[in-house]
């Protein structure tokens, strides 16, 4: 956050006026339209609207500088005397009050309602509604004793005073286990059910409105008060909240409350669902990240809550508060509680539990281990339920089946009955290994279940394999089964049990079978090739490139063998092209860009040949994919013209794909990445003096726009979130010189996004941390350009600290070099030349270390570092040292073995640098 410059403020001011005039629920859409026109402006307006939310929350400037809280103490409200203030919220302040009219003493809570909320309320209506609520009597509902309006017009409510803790704090403080929490929650439900029977909807159920006294007694506060404060139409509570931070709490609001739908008892069911979710998992169903109201509303309306069992896995402290481990908690929640919560949290009020009683009934059934009323319709539910409730039976079945299989080895030759039994077992194994496994794999956090399936499946498969005899089809099925098992055991690119060695063993079993059957019959060659390619992945992703490359080549040779006998069909051609791409990928992994470039060129030819045979989606995808690889490899090598050509080709292919399916996420992602790659050719860290900043900016803006659209369509898409953040950094980078203040804002936005990602702890934390360092560096550069020297130094030092931690491998180390250079520059600019010199020298030495591998991209940091150091010396009239630095750059490019537009440009540039010193 920063103070806006007058220019920025003048520019944003009319838009801010417009946004503030809009009803809050329309702002998100309005911002989206604006961002299409002008993304920076929109993000600035968004930031200011976020700021407004904080202003509202804090009640910033709402209290007169000359007022304080003691003013009311001792005053009389109705029969009560105010004692001390016990709370202050968006709604108003709450006071502890005492009644003493000689006969009895009683404590009460007096709630003064913020006047801004209540301009429409008449005293008469307030009293009338108050008296209805006053009749709501239930042991778990805090009684409303009186309601009225003070002489200065402030409405007040007098409530039964409850000395207790919010239910969530109470549960955590006592480390209550899941079942005890549910029992406590059932008390809440009984109170809500009573109120619903009296046709009173709470509308604002949240933990801070549910207090638990020390004796364990639950008390619901503020029943019906949201309604009392609302005007007569149904969505008034929403309006109040949005305008005044009032009685409704957005975090607990049901979708119909934020969209202006009808508020019914189902609204309370939803809020109760949120609260139960929170009590059981310690997390909010919509996640914990800080959001703007617009984002929150979007999430309330659109975002499905993750299964509670999955949410529970993420925090050890939450599990500890429930006297267990995350895994145990996950197990407890998985199944019925997931289902119950899912039902209560349905977006559509009609799909929720029809009453609070129905919800309570299911929870009671759960506590008694009975079948609950709601049933999810997925296969996985039934299986998991079946397994848990009947663990013994399942175990018995497994043993029996194994016996059948063992026995069938003999039976198979003897009787048709045995044959049929064998087929049954085969079907069962198939179900277990394929259908069931795939179904369960889709459930997050299903590792344990999958482990069991893997084991059982393996057992079946081993038995089947022994008895399969000469049936090649069955053999093939078994081999495929082994691959599936291997995937579940440890295939790195999908959810797995992390047992690479077991995975390899299973894969080898599969391989033996494929090789055997392919030897007998060439029609199994494609299966064998596909197998090699999958197996290669195991090595590629576990850092054994050599072995991976051999296996990709084996896949290619296998298909060549088939091709010698018969033409390949399109699926086989596709596999063939992909295998070539993979060979290139492996070479690229080990920084052999030259070789990779040639191989990708081969892929591209193959893909085009495919496209000429049939212009369909797979062949277009293949063309796009291979063009992307050609482009990125060419770029690494400095063949920038070729890189641009390839990206143009990719764009044409992707556009054709998108024309048919405009919303396809994969195509959109490809397009977004293409913009990024192409932008980087025009304008990049690596090629600071090549290209066309304007077109670079253009491409990065398109990148940002495409990524933002993807994220809007799917807010859970982490990859898209990273793309948006990265695109902001790139656009910021392009604007560094021409518009430093916009560059600063964008870099800050990007950092803020990353902070949210890091805070919400949604996977890939390390990547977010690394990106954050880069964002900080870009921020520092922009600040340096804007002349904000102290800020620039702080940003760059923060970035440097992280980069030092992360510097492993050439990429990390070249980031470190950049960070060192920037910190050197900012130190110099803030009058610390000695420190600057040592940083710049360190940058040079570090870059020297990377430059040992003679790839262009690893030389560029050295040239950059030498130049920064040389410039530092030149500015201090240390001519000899400056000249030495510049001379080394000249030599470096003179000695570079290849010639291309980038290298040639550097040769000229470095000579010019050197000449400037003489």
């Amino acid at each position: 956050m920063s103070t806006l410059t007058p220019e920025q403020w003048k520019r944003v001011s009319p838009y801010l006026d417009e946004a503030l005039e809009l009803p809050p629920e329309q702002r998100a859409a309005w911002l989206l339209t604006l961002s299409e026109k002008d993304a920076e402006l929109a993000s600035l307006v968004q930031a200011l609207l976020d700021e407004q939310r904080q202003v509202e929350q804090e009640g910033f400037l709402e209290r007169s500088p000359l007022q304080t809280g003691r003013g009311l103490a001792g005053q009389q409200v109705g029969p009560y005397r105010l004692v001390s203030k016990i709370g202050q919220g968006g709604m108003g302040s709450v006071w502890l009050a005492q009644r003493s009219d000689g006969r009895f003493e009683r404590n009460a809570a007096v709630k003064f309602v913020n006047i801004a909320l209540t301009s429409q309320i008449t005293e008469q209506r307030f009293k009338r509604e108050g008296s209805i609520l006053g009749r709501l009597i239930h042991p778990h509902i805090a009684e409303l004793l009186d309601a009225g309006i003070c002489s200065d017009g402030t409405p007040y409510l007098i409530l039964e005073y409850v000395d207790g803790k919010a239910i969530d704090q109470y549960c955590d403080a006592r480390k209550l286990a899941v079942d005890s929490r549910i029992k406590l929650f059932l008390d809440v439900l009984s109170a809500v059910a009573e109120a619903h029977a009296a046709l009173v909807v709470h509308r604002d159920i949240k933990p801070s409105n549910v207090l638990v006294r020390n004796d364990g007694e639950v008390k619901l506060l503020d029943f019906g008060i949201a309604k009392l404060l609302a005007q007569d139409d149904s969505n008034a509570a929403t309006m109040l909240t949005m305008e005044a931070g009032g009685p409704l709490t957005p975090q607990f609001a049901a979708p119909e409350q934020v969209t202006g739908g009808t508020i019914t008892t189902a609204t309370d069911v939803y809020a109760l669902g949120v609260m139960l979710y929170l009590l059981l998992t310690g997390q909010h169903p919509l996640g914990t990240s800080v959001r703007s109201p617009a984002e929150l509303i979007k999430a309330i309306v659109e975002q499905e809550a993750p299964r509670a069992s999955v949410a529970a896995l993420t925090a050890a402290s939450e599990a500890e508060n429930r006297s267990g481990t995350p895994e145990k908690l996950c197990r407890q929640l998985r199944g019925d509680l997931d289902t119950i919560l899912g039902k209560a949290l349905k977006k559509n009020p009609q799909e929720r539990y029809t009453s609070v009683i129905a919800l309570a009934d299911d929870l009671k059934r759960y506590l008694k281990h009975e079948t609950i009323s709601v049933r999810p319709d997925t296969f996985a539910y039934r299986t998991v339920k079946f397994v848990r409730r009947n663990r013994v039976v399942v175990a018995l079945a497994t043993v029996t089946l194994a016996a059948i299989i063992a026995g069938s080895g003999i039976a198979i030759y003897q009787a048709r009955i045995a044959q049929r039994r064998f087929q049954d077992v085969r079907k069962l194994a198939h179900t277990f290994v394929f259908d069931l496994h795939d179904e369960v794999a889709k459930l997050d956090g299903s590792t344990k279940a999958r482990e069991m399936m893997v084991q059982t499946g393996l057992q079946y498969l081993d038995n089947l394999a022994k008895n399969a005899g000469g049936d090649s089809e069955l053999q093939k099925e078994i081999a495929a089964g082994y691959m599936k098992i291997g995937d579940a055991q440890g295939y790195p690119t999908q959810p797995n049990l992390g047992r690479i060695a077991d995975a390899m063993a299973s894969y080898r079993k599969a391989g033996d079978i494929y090789e055997r059957i392919a030897k007998k019959n060439v029609s199994y060659l494609p299966d064998l090739a596909a197998y090699y390619r999958s197996y290669a992945g195991l090595f590629r992703f576990t850092d054994q490139p050599q072995r991976a490359r051999e296996l990709y080549e084996a896949a290619i040779q296998t298909l060549d063998r088939l091709r010698a006998q018969q033409p390949l069909d399109s699926a086989q051609e596709n596999l063939y092209t992909r295998a070539w791409c993979n060979v290139g990928d492996v070479d690229e992994d080990v920084d052999n860009y030259q070789l990779a470039w040639t191989e990708f060129g081969r892929c591209s030819e193959l893909a085009h040949a495919q496209l000429n045979r049939k212009r369909d989606q797979p062949s277009l995808s293949m063309v796009a994919e291979s063009a992307e690889r050609v482009g990125t490899a060419a770029q690494e090598l400095g063949h920038l013209r070729e890189a641009l050509q390839a990206f143009d080709e990719e764009e044409a292919a992707v556009r054709e794909l998108l024309a048919a399916e405009p919303l396809n996420p994969r195509f959109n992602r490809t397009l977004a990445l293409m913009y990024q790659f192409r932008g980087r050719v025009y304008f990049s860290d690596a090629y600071p003096d090549y290209g066309d900043p304007k077109r670079g900016l253009e491409n990065f803006k398109l990148y940002l726009q495409t990524a933002q659209q993807m994220l809007d369509r799917d807010p859970n898409n982490t990859a898209a979130r990273f793309s948006v953040e990265l695109a902001m950094v790139k656009v910021s980078y392009c604007l560094q010189k021409s518009d430093p203040s916009a560059a600063i804002l964008l870099a800050r936005d990007s950092i803020r996004m990353l902070d949210q990602m890091i805070a919400s702890n949604k996977g890939e934390r390390n990547r977010a941390v690394a990106h954050r360092a880069e964002g900080l560096r870009k921020l520092g550069e922009a600040q340096l350009n804007a002349g904000q020297l102290a800020e620039a130094r702080r940003s760059s030092d923060l970035a440097l600290a992280v980069e030092r931690e992360l510097a492993q491998g050439p990429d990390g180390r070249s980031n470190l070099v950049e960070s060192l250079i920037l910190s050197g520059k900012t130190s110099a600019a803030t009058g610390d030349p000695a420190h600057a010199e040592s940083l710049l020298r360190e940058a040079r030495d570090e870059a020297q270390g990377i430059a040992r591998s003679h790839e262009l991209t690893n030389l560029i940091p050295l040239a950059t570092a030498e130049e920064a150091l040389g410039t530092f010396y030149a500015a201090r009239n240390r001519t000899r040292e400056a000249r030495e630095c510049y001379q080394r750059i000249v030599n470096l490019w003179q000695q570079f073995p290849e010639s291309n537009e980038y290298v040639d440009g550097q040769k000229t540039y470095s000579k010019r640098l050197l000449a400037s010193i003489r």
């Binding site: 103070t3 806006l4 003048k10 202003v55 500088p65 304080t68």
Partner: protein, 188 residues
């Protein structure tokens, strides 16, 4: 030495004459302070609201100057700026003042911690408001009138001759600006 005429000072200040603006400030400051002291002398230890004080100052000075006195809205805009300074100084010296038994502005606190926190925050708000005045003077006026002098949106609308809704929106914008600016020194 003749006191410069307040309406002349306002004219000159509006034309950007900084010397006159400075004189205007100290003139109004003295006047507001004097009124507060006099109130105290007359009634003993008593509370007086900023709003009352500023109204009274207007009536007093308008009576002295007569027809040529600027309209109430313009006067209030200046006086409110001065009142801000007075209040910040007041809060800053509150403890000393209390001991000395001098005048008291509305419902002053007795909580020391609160005073200290407030004082720092108020000074920062003051600085940010000066900055805001350079960017968007109407916004800073709304804050002076609303936050420091306690006028209602309706009253401000009348003084500034704009709609009440516009005042509210300016108030919102000013709060956003100040909030952002006050938190600008947090790390990135």
């Amino acid at each position: 030495m003749t006191e410069p005429n307040i309406s002349t000072l306002i004219e000159l200040a509006e034309q950007g004459d900084e010397v006159s603006a400075g004189k205007l400030f100290s003139l109004l400051y003295r006047e507001l302070h004097r009124l507060a002291e006099r109130q105290l002398a007359r009634q003993g230890e008593v509370s007086i609201s900023a709003t009352t004080l500023i109204h009274e100052a207007y009536l007093q000075m308008a009576a002295q100057v007569g027809h040529s006195f600027p309209d109430q809205g313009r006067f209030m805009a200046y006086a409110a700026r001065v009142m801000r300074g007075l209040i910040i100084d007041h809060v800053r010296n509150r403890l000393a003042i209390k001991r000395g038994g001098r005048f008291e502005l509305t419902s002053l606190t007795t909580d020391i911690g609160d005073v200290l926190g407030n004082e720092q925050e108020l000074s920062r708000i003051g600085h940010a408001l000066d900055e805001l005045a350079g960017v968007d003077p109407l916004l800073s006026q709304v804050v002076d009138l609303k936050f420091f002098c306690g006028f209602s949106f309706g009253e401000i609308a009348e003084m500034m001759r704009i709609s009440e809704r516009t005042v509210q929106r300016k108030w919102e914008k000013a709060r956003i600006y100040l909030h952002r600016s006050l938190r600008a020194d947090l790390p990135a």
